[in-house]
């Protein structure tokens, strides 16, 4: 009957913004539980929603005020996402756009509406520059962090990257193109060949041409920036063409248990860089089980809850909740507004001790944000598919942020110039 619950969730999601009176702090999520990317979206949305449900049930919300974690269904469509933003912004203290395309569209609007964008682990990488993008946050890690960690990891293998060839299989979409500037820079510096291979939306499930190119070009490594059905399509083609799985690495959105389950043992060795890791034994998971699942409020199931994406959804909502709590403490009021939440998100301090208090040990590395740094650069772990689940295959990895600080400043300045007049937060220094 879980799908009847899904119907209820979808009905709520599609009708949000009509005559629903908000109760508590309104934190809309521009979700995508339907359409070609639903398989990726559902566990993430469920994790996000369940964490907020848990806080509402266990603690009465945050600081004594309930969280109205309403969803607006976009189907991952940029046009629908913009409509959802407009529909939900009225009482919202934050917007969670859930696609790089939607993020880019609403980015200028949030400056005018003064609503923070929270895009954990996605969006436009130069959003790290808090001076330029004062309303946008992509903590705990941005795409250039991910690219940097992957490059460092590969450079540490088999004699380094110099002279090697790296194919970059990516969705032909703003999200997929996001890390290209950094990869190109690193390729020029380190002397490896970088070969972008785009995958169109209509080709996600039939990537034979892309993998024929892989076969012809014989890259040493394939790095994937895939989303939704593209991940499963790529992994099955990699198995078919007998590409060595240990040389195939995806970004964190290409590390979904369900995609790898399609190939099972044949996917052994496939890796995914990730800033989150599921911990079914964590205290927070027990609380979600008790207050949400057992109370019949969850749309998830045991299998999904033990996976990488559900755990990541939980972490994402924790980041928002910590931002709200920080703002409440700073301004001495539970009913914070969007501007105050912006301060909270700019002053996140997620230490190992705080993670232990939250019952989230091992689920995300410690990180902090500042006025100048809206990404936090938490780093992450290299995960590896063992045939049935993802396991940690590395210690905590950190990106070399000094490597692209100048690139962030350059691209942020380019964006501000192209969208002039663009308001700057002069109280911030350049990102560290």
């Amino acid at each position: 009957m879980k799908h009847w619950k899904t119907l209820a969730a979808a009905a709520v999601a599609t009708t949000v913004g009509s005559a629903v009176l908000a109760e508590g702090l309104v934190t809309p999520n521009l979700s995508y539980r339907t359409g070609p990317f639903a398989a990726t979206g559902i566990p993430l949305m469920n994790g996000q929603k369940d964490y907020m449900e848990m806080l509402n049930a266990r603690d009465g919300g945050i600081g004594g005020i309930k969280i109205d974690f309403t969803e607006c269904e976009t189907g991952y469509s940029t046009e629908k996402g913009v409509e959802c933003y407009e529909k939900t912004k009225g009482e919202a203290i934050v917007t969670q756009p859930w696609s790089t395309g939607i993020t880019l569209q609403v980015l200028p609007k949030t400056n005018v509406d003064e609503i923070p964008i929270l895009a954990p682990g996605y969006g436009f990488s130069p959003m790290a520059d808090g001076k330029t993008f004062q309303w946008a946050f992509n903590a705990p890690s941005g795409y250039w962090d991910g690219a940097s960690m992957i490059v460092s990891y590969l450079d540490g293998k088999d004699g380094g990257l110099s002279g090697k060839k790296v194919a970059f299989l990516h969705l032909d979409h703003p999200y997929g193109k996001e890390p290209i500037p950094l990869f190109e820079k690193k390729a020029a510096e380190m002397g490896f060949e970088f070969l972008p291979i785009p995958v169109g939306l209509k080709e996600m499930q039939n990537q034979s041409a892309q993998w024929l190119q892989v076969r012809r070009e014989r890259p040493d490594y394939v790095v994937m920036w895939g989303w939704g059905a593209m991940n499963a399509g790529a992994i099955t083609e990699a198995v078919k063409t007998k590409f060595p799985m240990e040389n195939f690495i995806g970004v964190w959105w290409s590390g979904h248990d369900a995609d790898l389950a399609l190939v099972g043992d044949a996917g052994k060795g496939y890796k995914s860089i990730s800033w989150s890791f599921p911990n079914p034994d964590a205290g927070v998971m027990a609380d979600i089980q008790k207050h949400v699942v057992d109370a019949g409020k969850s749309l998830s199931n045991a299998d999904e809850m033990s996976g990488v994406f559900y755990g990541r959804g939980v972490v994402m909502s924790m980041i928002l909740a910590e931002g709200i709590a920080a703002a409440q403490a700073e301004f001495g009021t539970a009913e914070i507004n969007a501007s105050q939440l912006r301060w909270g998100l700019e002053n996140l301090n997620i230490t190992e001790a705080r993670l232990a208090e939250l019952g989230m040990e091992g689920m995300v590395p410690a990180f902090s944000t500042s006025c100048a740094n809206h990404t936090g650069n938490s780093g992450g772990w290299m995960l590896e598919w063992d045939g049935s689940k993802f396991v940690k295959a590395s210690d905590h990895l950190v990106p070399d942020t000094s490597d692209y600080a100048a690139l962030i400043a350059e691209k942020a300045a380019e964006y501000a110039t192209a969208n002039a007049p663009w308001p700057m937060n002069e109280s911030c220094d350049a990102p560290s």
């Binding site: 539980r33 359409g35 169109g200 209509k202 499930q205 059905a229 099955t236 369900a258």
Partner: protein, 317 residues
């Protein structure tokens, strides 16, 4: 530049003939699948002049029903039979609830009705089956999942057994369909309706029966297509977008021609793969498959507006 366009690609083909064979094989498999989807469109258009926008979602719905029933513990072949039953029930319901009240209405209304069917099936499918990717029950249906490795000219050619099975079964399905349309009373009735509705009805052919039959056949084709595509990358609502790949096939082959759908599908499948590998990737950065087929179809339409195999319609005014 001229060398890159006119000489280098052919030199590559000659230098690595095994790779060329691999490209052609992958193109053939894609082409067969495009042809299958296009056939679903053509059958319905021939009998009712309706462009069935719902063909893509029917592929998803059929595949989801099959794997959904199996997930409930129903044996694979029983699930297959039950899915056929569901597709028949869907065909009957569509005729009864959607099409029958619209008989005699302008074609555009019937087309809009199929958009409504699409939206209904998306919502209904997500309620019943959820949006997660599901694994096609390939081996449970007896479809082999290994691969055959050949070494032509000392090179390498990998053919997945499931792709070979799909090509063979699709060929048999198309042959059966052609025999049905050409040799049986019902088949001839479908063709008669396609030629002239009123004349066909005046000799006792039941429009309602034929519509149910045609939509059911389109449902069977959708199921086969869903199994074939689902076996490649799982079953999810992303399969729906594959239906758009059939549009240039229809433009090329003509909306009314079954042989056009088959030949158009195969042509587009192989030509787009050849163009992508030998011209698109080296010269244009790749991903030309998203537009190549449309450009090819447009060029052909410039010279043959009815498509390669479509009938020239002359309307007297």
């Amino acid at each position: 530049m001229l060398n890159d366009i006119f000489i280098a690609p052919f030199a590559d083909m000659i230098a690595a003939p095994d790779f060329l064979l691999q490209v052609l094989w992958e193109g053939l498999v894609s082409g067969v699948l495009y042809a299958l989807i296009a056939l679903g469109f053509v059958l319905i258009f021939r009998s009712s002049r309706i462009f069935n926008f719902a063909q893509g979602i029917m592929v998803v719905f059929a595949a989801l029903t099959l794997v959904g029933l199996h997930a409930m513990g129903v044996p694979a072949w029983v699930s297959f039979a039950l899915t056929l039953g569901v597709m028949f029930a869907l065909a009957w319901s569509i005729e009864r609830v959607v099409l029958r009240p619209l008989v005699g209405q302008p074609d555009i209304l019937l087309f809009m009705a199929t958009i409504g069917i699409t939206l209904f099936l998306i919502g209904f499918g997500e309620i019943i089956f959820g949006g997660e990717t599901k694994q096609m029950i390939t081996s449970e249906l007896g479809i082999p999942t290994g691969s055959i490795t050949l070494e032509p000219w000392g090179g390498l050619l990998i053919m997945e057994e499931k792709d070979i099975t799909i090509v063979v079964i699709s060929g048999l399905l198309v042959a059966g369909l052609l025999a049905f349309l050409g040799k049986t009373r019902m088949g001839r009735a479908i063709r008669a309706l396609g030629d002239d509705h009123q004349a066909a009805m005046s000799v006792g052919i039941s429009l309602q029966t034929i519509w149910v039959l045609v939509w059911f056949i389109a449902g069977i084709i959708a199921l086969m297509t869903g199994i074939a595509w689902g076996a490649r990358a799982g079953v999810s609502f992303a399969l729906e977008v594959i239906a758009y790949k059939a549009l240039p096939v229809l433009m090329l082959g003509g909306l009314e021609s079954i042989s056009g759908a088959i030949i158009g599908g195969l042509m587009i499948g192989m030509l787009e793969k050849l163009f992508e590998i030998y011209w698109g990737q080296p010269l244009l950065g790749g991903n030309t498959e998203t537009w190549f087929a449309f450009v090819l179809a447009l060029i052909i339409l410039l010279f043959r507006p009815q498509g390669l195999f479509g009938e020239k319609i002359i309307e007297r005014v």
